[in-house]
């Protein structure tokens, strides 16, 4: 396997009104071709910023991202993205939304239509071509988002909290479908998430980030058998291990900063429903 995407000491500072915000600190890891990598970390640690840098939407302050050995300085036609709030154009129908990427590549109209219909079928949305996004549920919208990302035949699909704005049952179904899509297409997937179970269900490799400034705390290969079983003891062990890593991070942060707002505490609680259930 070759290194498909490489992150090399990616550091990011934001300048906001005299205050300098250190978002990412020397983040380094590799993504192999065809691998499914999940990036997890505490809320607000800079996971999404990292994904935007990989997408070429944002520049690192220092360090670099390489795609097939070449430095990423702008969005790449072979790197596509699925968005947290779906990013659909409300004035375009489902079909027209999926066609968007191909339209921007100036693909002929027939090809656009055929390819888009094929991907809509793949995500189970045949028959919805002429509906507008407002007529769809959250899960269906994200299917459109996934179809749009795949329609341009990318090598890498980046997903930014792609299942976070969807109800849990729908998200579960969608995750299974994405696992199948990953297997069928052999494309490289990188998902940013704050949901540990989600990460363990999908990933070949989990990258655990620390709280801000985000550093790579640990890179964990997930050798669990597929389809992943959340009730399996190995799954639970890994889940617990990562949870401890993250808790440690959060507690450090809390102590350090004596946070006034409770957002991060809430994030901590969000991460352990399964622990409580036991």
């Amino acid at each position: 396997m070759e290194n498909h995407v490489e992150l090399d000491n990616v550091t990011k500072f934001y300048q906001s009104q005299e205050k300098q915000l250190h978002a990412l600190h020397e983040v380094t890891f590799d993504v192999d071709r065809g691998e499914f990598v999940c990036i997890v970390g505490p809320s607000g640690c800079g996971k999404s910023t990292l994904l935007k840098i990989i997408a070429g939407l944002d520049e690192p302050s220092s360090g670099e991202v390489r795609f097939k050995g070449r430095i990423v300085e702008e969005p790449q036609s072979k790197i596509s993205m699925v968005f947290q709030a779906f990013g659909l154009f409300p004035w375009r129908t489902v079909l027209e939304n999926v066609e968007y990427g191909l339209e921007m590549q100036k693909a002929p109209k027939n090809k656009r239509r055929d390819v888009s219909k094929q991907y809509l079928e793949m995500v189970g949305l045949s028959g919805y071509e002429h509906m507008y996004p407002k007529q769809l549920s959250g899960g269906m919208k994200q299917r459109v988002g996934i179809a749009r990302a795949l329609a341009v035949d990318p090598e890498v699909v980046l997903m930014d909290e792609a299942f976070s704005a969807i109800d849990e049952v729908t998200a579960e179904v969608l995750r299974e479908e994405v696992t199948a899509l990953h297997r069928e297409t052999g494309k490289t997937f990188v998902l940013v998430t704050h949901n540990l179970s989600e990460a363990l269900e999908l990933a070949d490799k989990v990258v655990v980030l620390s709280s801000r400034p985000a550093k790579v705390k640990k890179v964990l290969p997930v050798a669990l058998e597929r389809p992943r079983d959340r009730a399996h003891s190995n799954f639970i062990h890994m889940h617990t291990d990562i949870l401890h890593l993250l808790k440690e991070e959060l507690e450090n942060t809390l102590l350090r900063r004596k946070l006034r707002n409770m957002d991060e505490v809430k994030a901590l609680h969000d991460m352990e429903p399964e622990e409580k259930a036991k």
Partner: protein
Amino acid sequence: MSVSRQKAITSSSTNKVWCVQRITEHLWVVPLAGGVASWEVVTRLNLFPGSHLPTFSTVLSIFFVSIQDPAFLLRIAHSFLTLLCGLALAFSIALPAAFVAGSKNRFDATLTPLVMLFGALPDLSFLPLLVLWFGAGNAAAITMATVAAFFPIYFTLREGTRNIPRELFEVTSVFKADGLSTFTKMVLPALSPYMFSGLRLAYDFDWEIIIAVEIATHMTGIGSFIQGTVSTGSTASGFAAILAIALVAIAVDRLFFRSLESWTRKWA
């Protein structure tokens, strides 16, 4: 209760709802007809001198004569074209300005206070100066209409630009849209609901401004025509002109604004 009976009841009640809806939709006819009727009665009773307030039936008959008069129609067309020029100019200046101000805080901080400052001034106060510079002609009238239309268009489009989700800009970048297609295929459709309300407000403002400008400067148009009917004592023609303006306004509303709105409603 049998199923068929239940069905009959529901269908008759939906029928009833439908009828009530239809009636309430057209309820505006009642006060209008009432107003026209009392107008007719009051004037027939000679409570007002005929030269001040003609009967409604006179106005109607003069209206039908006037709309066959090319000179009358030309005056309306002249005012309407002035208005369209003003709207178009204001729109083409306000759109880029509002987009820049709405998307870049730095520009907003420079531009918006200036726009606010000028917007706070009564537009018509510039009229004498405009007439001094450009003469009492189309240039002054169109400039006035542009100035009046600028503010509602600028502020609605600026608000609209601010409400475009950041994510949509990221979508255009990820799929490598160039600047032009980002603007025509993303920004413009996203702004269309705001364009609709801005243009509509500006359109209403501009009718007022143009009539006022024409009355004040006696330049060709329907405003000066109305002014003329008062000084010659033929107020019925003045009312006929007002009726014609109302019909133009209704036509523009139905043909342009309604279709834009119904397109927006489909997806928004």
